[in-house]
């Protein structure tokens, strides 16, 4: 239900943004490291994904799809540690102050909401829940329509019981902006 609601919001908002005057489009890829925060049963792993970019004035909206895998846990006092969980997510970020391909460096701030599936086959764990994230980064326009970026994100994914699974995510990315 939450997934459908989120998807419906994206589908309702995005066409209006595209239809609005001055909307610019782009796309990007990113990859890096996902570090579990206060999760004794996980260790650091990888994160990568794809995103679209729609810029309206100061705000750039980014629908994204991300894939992450934690490393195997290193639990104190346990000899046979289990595998880490995988996280598949999609959602929407709102980015402030992105240069959207303009030359030079810019500090960016962003916040996002998404649906995340946390899965661990070995441990028979499988939950899909809403996650929220906040972060900051640096985006640098390096050529006409092309920017590179580095971002730090704090992500909190809810659990069915009401707790959260948290991660710090550091990624580097490459963006292309159409028509520039």
């Amino acid at each position: 239900m939450k997934k459908l609601l989120l998807l419906a919001i994206c589908l309702l908002v995005l066409p209006h943004l595209v239809a609005a005057q001055g909307v610019k489009l782009g796309a990007g890829v990113f990859g890096g490291m996902e570090v579990p925060v206060i999760q004794d049963d996980q260790s650091s792993g990888t994160n990568f994904g794809f995103k679209g970019r729609l810029n309206v004035a100061l705000i750039t909206f980014e629908p994204y799809l991300s894939f992450a895998s934690y490393g195997g846990a290193d639990i104190d006092d346990v000899i046979d540690d289990p595998d880490g969980s995988s996280i598949t997510g999609f959602g929407l970020d709102a980015v402030l102050f992105s240069g959207f391909g303009a030359p030079g460096p810019r500090m960016i701030l962003f916040a996002g909401i998404g649906s995340y599936k946390v899965k661990n086959d070995q441990m028979d764990y499988d939950q899909s829940n809403i996650g929220y994230s906040l972060g900051l980064g640096l985006e640098v326009g390096v050529a006409r329509g092309i920017s590179i970026e580095g971002r730090g994100r704090f992500l909190a994914i809810g659990t069915e019981g009401g707790a959260t699974k948290k991660s710090a995510i550091v990624t580097a990315g490459l963006n292309y902006h159409f028509g520039m």
Binding site: V37, I38, Q39, D40, D41, Q42, A73, I75, D76, D77, V78, I79, D80, D81, P82, D83, L96, F97, M107, L109, Q122, M123, D124, Y125, Y132, L134, G135, L136, F154, A156, T159, E160, G161, G162, A163, T164, K165, K166
Partner: protein
């Protein structure tokens, strides 16, 4: 002046970011382990019995009022099988409030407790079933998770034979909990 105003514009967002991180840092996922050696043998010598209690462990004590999920319950077992043949050991659990205990009969345990593992034991004096490996043999894991919400449950181990034909040198119980405000 413009620069100052521009920087001030980001201040509320920075504060919001810090508040968001701070609020979430008070919750987390914790792994609690407790080890038992010299398990009790039932009066008729046909099963092992142990009352498991993680509520005295530090992480449980620190977060007991905020536990939201039991993510998992697993075991590490050091066992031996001197029966001269491969056998299967069965692990059962019951709520801490259950009347089952070391004085119960094997039939009562099999009828009233919940079987959570069927472990194949080769003929060997040195058998180790690891935490991750143990999930290959698991059944009724959700019932075990539900039972562990109290931090206490009863554990039984038996086989098809009476008297019991395998040994348990020690058992480590591993409980993963998620806590949050």
């Amino acid at each position: 002046m413009k620069q100052i105003i521009s920087r001030l514009r980001t201040l509320p967002l920075g504060v919001a970011l810090l508040a968001f991180v701070a609020c979430n840092l008070i919750s987390g996922t914790f792994v609690i382990t407790v080890m038992y050696e010299n398990l009790s043998v039932a009066s008729l010598n046909d099963f092992y019995y142990q009352a498991v209690d993680v509520t005295e462990e530090e992480d449980w004590q620190d977060h007991k009022d905020d536990i939201k999920d039991i993510d998992n319950v697993g075991f590490e077992l050091w066992m031996d099988n001197n029966s001269g043949q491969a056998i299967t050991a069965y692990l059962y659990v019951a709520p801490i409030t259950s009347s089952l205990n070391g004085s119960s009969t094997k039939a009562e345990v099999m009828a009233d407790a919940i079987r959570i593992f069927s472990l194949p034991l080769p003929d060997s004096e040195d058998i180790f079933i690891g935490y991750a490996e143990s999930f290959n043999y698991v059944a009724n894991i959700q019932q075990l998770r539900d039972m562990a919400e109290e931090g206490q449950f009863k554990f039984f181990a038996l086989s098809d034979a009476s008297p019991i034909d395998f040994g348990i040198d020690s058992v480590k119980v591993i409980v993963t909990v998620s806590a949050g405000k």
